[in-house]
Symmetry: C2
Subunit: 332 residues, 2 copies
Amino acid sequence: MKKKIKINKIKQIALKIIKRQGYNETESRQIFDMRLFAQLRGNDHGFVGLFGWNPDKDKNAGEIKTIRETKLSALIDGNANSAITVMQKATGLAIQKAKVSGFGIVGTKGTYNSTGAIGYYVKQIAQENLIGMAFSGCDAYVAPYNSNEAVFGSNPMAVGLPTKKDPVVLDFATTGMTWHDLTEKNILNKKLTPGRGYDKEGKPTLDPKAVMDHGASRIFDNTYKGSGLSFIIEALTGPLVQAAAFGILDEDADWGNLVMAIDPELLMNINEYKKNMTKLIKRYKKARRLKGVKELFYPGERGNRMSERCLKQGVVEIEEELLEKMVAEAKA
Amino acid sequence: MKKKIKINKIKQIALKIIKRQGYNETESRQIFDMRLFAQLRGNDHGFVGLFGWNPDKDKNAGEIKTIRETKLSALIDGNANSAITVMQKATGLAIQKAKVSGFGIVGTKGTYNSTGAIGYYVKQIAQENLIGMAFSGCDAYVAPYNSNEAVFGSNPMAVGLPTKKDPVVLDFATTGMTWHDLTEKNILNKKLTPGRGYDKEGKPTLDPKAVMDHGASRIFDNTYKGSGLSFIIEALTGPLVQAAAFGILDEDADWGNLVMAIDPELLMNINEYKKNMTKLIKRYKKARRLKGVKELFYPGERGNRMSERCLKQGVVEIEEELLEKMVAEAKA
């Protein structure tokens, strides 16, 4: 069951938890903003992430450092900080560079948890009238096509495109099941859809726990296409950014991310481009629908709609159990 | 049945046909090179493409013009030339710009046929130690997820990554059936796999001809993920590059393409990056395989293998009927 709660109220509760996890004022606000964005969209990376993988600030976290920089690019060492704050810094830098030079690409290494919804970062880029692209790496728990052994991470990709109104934001994981899906099914004692998971010996399993214990999830489309895409994302978030967590499951290996911003003005006038986007969106929206389908949503539209509906009332929808858990944690 | 034929021999035959189609020496060589690349890989865009959509040089073809240019970018008007020669020019420009500035992005508009296999172009980029990305647009014949009406083109994407040896080259269409698949099934009088195609009224059909006659193919994975990816590619190859063929089927509308080259040195030392790539490839190759699977291929590897085997013998494999057709056409 979902419940509506005032955003001001959940902000107080969440910030208490985040600060207790060791984050300063700025970091806490950044983490909260990403979680609220995701929660408002019914995305996996909402407030449940406060209890997710490595949520506490690492005792060894140092300064976020830029270890390589050019006019168009930077490589950032997250130095064990929250991936959310590191990715936020990377996004800001990519925007800044693209605004000056037309293109910005920033890689991050040295983090050990999730950036959350990467659609959040490319949306910020698109809101600056730039095309945003982002890719995220993590430990291996996804088997390539034709394999039953974990080699890839969940390997999401996100693209944000500016329009006259809300940006188009595509954000999807190339795994058939996210870590969140597995955790949730495990807690609720639910079985997996057949054909989606393997245990550590590579045997098909319906048990989420068996997948989480050195087993593997299938690729989203179960073909060479999705698997190839995941391979590319593994390369862009490991080899290309000096992060160690590629091809392997190793808690000591750092995770990598990549974010890019491209100025459409490199190719054409932004207003002409936006006019074209309006035309494409209109055409798409009025396409004939399959029976029972009420509306065709362009990437990110459904999330925007959900989000706006709540924001108008100043509320956010949240699972009752999660809210209770947060309230208890904030009081503790 | 496939037959082996000396590359020198097929080159003579193909060049005769291509020149007869109105192309000059340089254009003919570029078209032949792309077709040979595809043929050697068993890719759809091999010599069969000589008889494909708009193969002849357009009577109205003018000069290929750069209509916008910056240090990092160019927008090219193909001016009704072959998309292969236009994409080849765009690729060369993207490489040149990335070598000087670290990044190059080139859009094309004003063409009315297919660039062929876009893996061909990103491979050239990767061979220059740059990361290549390419996207191609065309007329609409693919329905978005939840729709049964054509809005998208086949919308392929390709990524090329440099390695110590052969580049990794991913190249796939976001449609469930390519135009080539449909044409081939139509000629051979074969039925479509159920659930893959719609006729012009949106009714499910097994008839390839019904799909080709203002019907629609399904998205490759039949989910919002593949559909979202196709939407993004539609935007990058239409609205972003001033090409008119987006969201519609209109023979008068020009098709667009986008190609990018990114220098890995923007983020890290190329040799370190390549060492990492070797590690990723090795890890991937030794992953446990599903029963009956002899080998796991990284993106582009199978094609490279096929290609090398033939190149060593100086031959190419070709369908007997296609060869006969080519021989007849060359003599005509």
